[in-house]
């Protein structure tokens, strides 16, 4: 078990910069999740840590060792691939023991360690089978087992559940969470699925265009996003953004008017006052609309998605901006009719429309 330290890590492919200089410190035993839209560089960053891509600039340290130029096999990391990447010609036992064999561990020791990992992952009865005789979930477990037997300092997971069906994904997610508790190892997990990120992570690293947008615990990112990108990316359905204009400033309080809703004013508490007349964007999460709140927005409802316990209404403002409202299962909301959604100013966030940065 060891922590991990990335210092100004950069990577480009054929002159196109993919990772622009990443600094990140991961504590020993932490479960870190990299999330971001496709092409944000999350998988590349994982592969740089694995050693499958060469780091052009910067340093990668695992524990006390600088592994920037070390071979993948010498870094003390093990990786679970999205496609499982099992050796098709080897049995489950051989697959799991291959890494140990390559590292010159003696046969008895390999057998013991494979048996122990198989026991943890309930693979005992499948050890003599070939990967082609296993189901998707079993294959993924073998891939995880292959990582466990090596007793690595850091586990790397590259979207390990995205090839599984929904039900199995939930089960494997729990298994991975349990595994982390049981082994207490440092784990880095790449996903584009924010539910996986929210449920598994000690800390989430949100990436966009090869840069870190924000690092923090799932709840920190949800409650206190640094910018509009993180605010929109974390939370499902995504946060609503409404154009706003500063109309008055009194001490700590800034009042903005919503451009799409002429006469509606929202009074927010900000540490740094804004100039009157400047533009802003107001963010409000769908689940933060509440029938008993003070500020009311009336919008025509286009579509209602009723999931039983929860229901989302999809509306559009006069200027055509989308608005998603969690109507808390209210059966009285009807498609095609106007609906008044209410929220409290304390639940709203303000962002700079140019830079996307949070205005606090």
């Amino acid at each position: 078990m060891a922590g991990l330290e990335l210092t100004s890590v950069k990577k480009s492919f054929g002159g196109v910069a993919i990772i622009h200089g990443i600094d990140l410190s991961i504590r020993s035993g932490e479960f870190i999740v990299f999330v971001g839209p496709s092409g944000c560089g999350k998988s590349t960053l994982l592969r740089l840590i694995a050693g499958l891509e060469t780091t052009l600039e910067g340093n990668i340290r695992i524990g006390e060792r600088d592994v920037t130029t070390a071979d993948p096999g010498d870094r003390g990391v093990a990786m679970v691939f999205q496609t499982y990447a099992l050796y098709p010609h080897m049995s489950v036992r051989e697959n799991m023991g291959f890494g140990l064999r390559m590292n010159g561990v003696d046969k008895d020791d390999i057998r013991k360690r494979v048996d122990r990992a198989a026991d943890i992952l309930h693979l005992d009865r499948l050890l003599e089978r070939k990967p082609s005789e296993l189901s998707g979930g079993q294959r993924q477990r073998v891939a995880i087992g292959r990582a466990i037997v090596r007793e690595p300092e850091v586990f790397l997971f590259d979207e390990p559940l995205s090839n599984l069906d929904a039900e199995l994904r939930v089960r494997m997610r729990l298994e991975i969470a349990n595994l982390h508790k049981r082994l207490g190892a440092t784990m880095i997990y790449v996903t584009h699925d924010q539910i996986e990120a929210m449920t598994l992570a000690d800390r989430i690293v949100v990436l966009k265009d090869g840069l870190i947008e924000q690092v923090g615990s799932p709840i920190e990112l949800y409650d206190d996003p640094d910018n509009a990108f993180v605010a929109g990316f974390i939370g499902s359905p995504r946060m609503n953004f409404l154009d706003a204009k500063v109309v008055a400033v009194e001490g700590d309080h800034t009042t903005v008017s919503l451009v799409d809703f002429d006469d509606i004013h929202v009074r927010l508490e900000l540490e740094r006052p804004l100039a009157v007349g400047s533009a802003a964007r107001l963010g409000i999460r769908p689940e933060h609309f509440d029938a008993s709140a003070e500020i009311a927005l009336t919008v025509p409802i286009e579509v209602i998605e009723n999931l039983g316990g929860i229901a989302y209404a999809y509306a559009r403002t006069e200027d055509g901006n989308p608005l998603i409202i969690d109507i808390k299962g209210d059966r009285n909301v009807v498609e095609g009719k106007d609906f008044t959604a209410r929220f409290d100013a304390a639940r709203a966030y303000l962002f700079d429309p140019e830079t996307g940065l949070r205005l606090r």
């Binding site: 050693g51 496609t83 590292n103």
Partner: protein
């Protein structure tokens, strides 16, 4: 006639046509084998004889007049040796090109293949002189080396295509597992492409076995292959069809029998990419 009947008729006509073409193509081989068991008179009789009393005289005569065993051994050594040498070079090279491609990989492959477009006679002088200089005329070693070199481009091309079918992640997994490049090739790539490698090796052996130009030009009594033996029967005393047929049958037989035994592997190799 219904559509179904029409379709059945079409299907049958195609099958019949295929059989006719197949039999036509096989006929010369069949006739060669038949002629091998005739006397010289029977071989040239008109009309041609289909039924006759077979005789083994031609085969006995060949063994008496020449050393069939030695030529067969030469063929085996040069074909298998040349193939082995080519595979030893081609497997790591094709691995490098399949798994670590650069923007020049395509061009390199094309360049390699382009050497096959050069007529062999174009390099006859330099190769002959080199062999002469190093005392390699009529030597099996020279033939092994030349066979390996002339088949290398094709072997590379085929192996490259087989290797490219191996998912990249499997190799990355082996690197994560700490496998050296050698272990990666021998423990992961080669077992995975076993069928493809076997099919490629077999093709190379057949190409070497049937190679005529260099074996006739560079060898005589010591390193002569079966092909050279056949050629030696066709010249000095005029054409003796029965004997020529017998020696040709003897030259083809080993490789055909070998092919029969490895056909299972071969079919597996040919469908390797399709079923992954």
């Amino acid at each position: 006639m219904t559509d179904r009947q029409k379709q059945r008729l079409l299907h049958r006509s195609i099958v019949t046509l295929a059989w006719i073409i197949g039999l036509l193509m096989f006929f010369p081989i069949f006739w060669m084998i038949l002629t091998a068991f005739k006397t010289e008179q029977q071989a040239i009789s008109t009309p041609p004889l289909l039924f006759f009393e077979p005789s083994f005289d031609n085969f006995l005569l060949i063994q008496e007049r020449t050393d069939y065993t030695k030529h067969a051994l030469n063929s085996i050594i040069t074909s298998f040796g040349g193939t082995a040498l080519a595979m030893i070079i081609a497997i790591p090279a094709a691995c490098a090109m399949a798994f670590k491609p650069s923007h020049l990989t395509r061009d390199v492959l094309l360049w390699m293949l382009s050497t096959k477009m050069l007529p062999a006679v174009g390099v006859l002088m330099p190769i002959y002189l080199i062999c002469q200089k190093f005392g390699l005329l009529d030597s099996r070693f020279a033939l092994v080396f030349i066979y390996a070199m002339i088949n290398l481009p094709i072997i590379m091309m085929i192996l490259f295509n087989y290797f490219r079918d191996i998912p990249k992640e499997i190799l990355e997994a082996s690197r994560m597992d700490g496998a050296s490049t050698f272990a990666e090739i021998t423990q992961v790539v080669m077992p995975l492409a076993r069928g493809g490698i076997a099919a490629t090796a077999f093709l190379s052996i057949v190409l070497c076995w049937n190679e005529a130009f260099w074996s006739i030009v560079l060898t005589s009594s010591d390193a002569g292959t079966l092909v050279a033996l056949v050629a030696s029967f066709s010249s000095p005393e005029g054409l003796f069809w029965a004997k020529l047929s017998a020696v040709s049958t003897l030259a083809c037989a080993p490789i055909m029998i070998f092919g029969w035994f490895v056909q299972k592997q071969l079919v597996q190799g040919m469908t390797f990419g399709a079923v992954k």
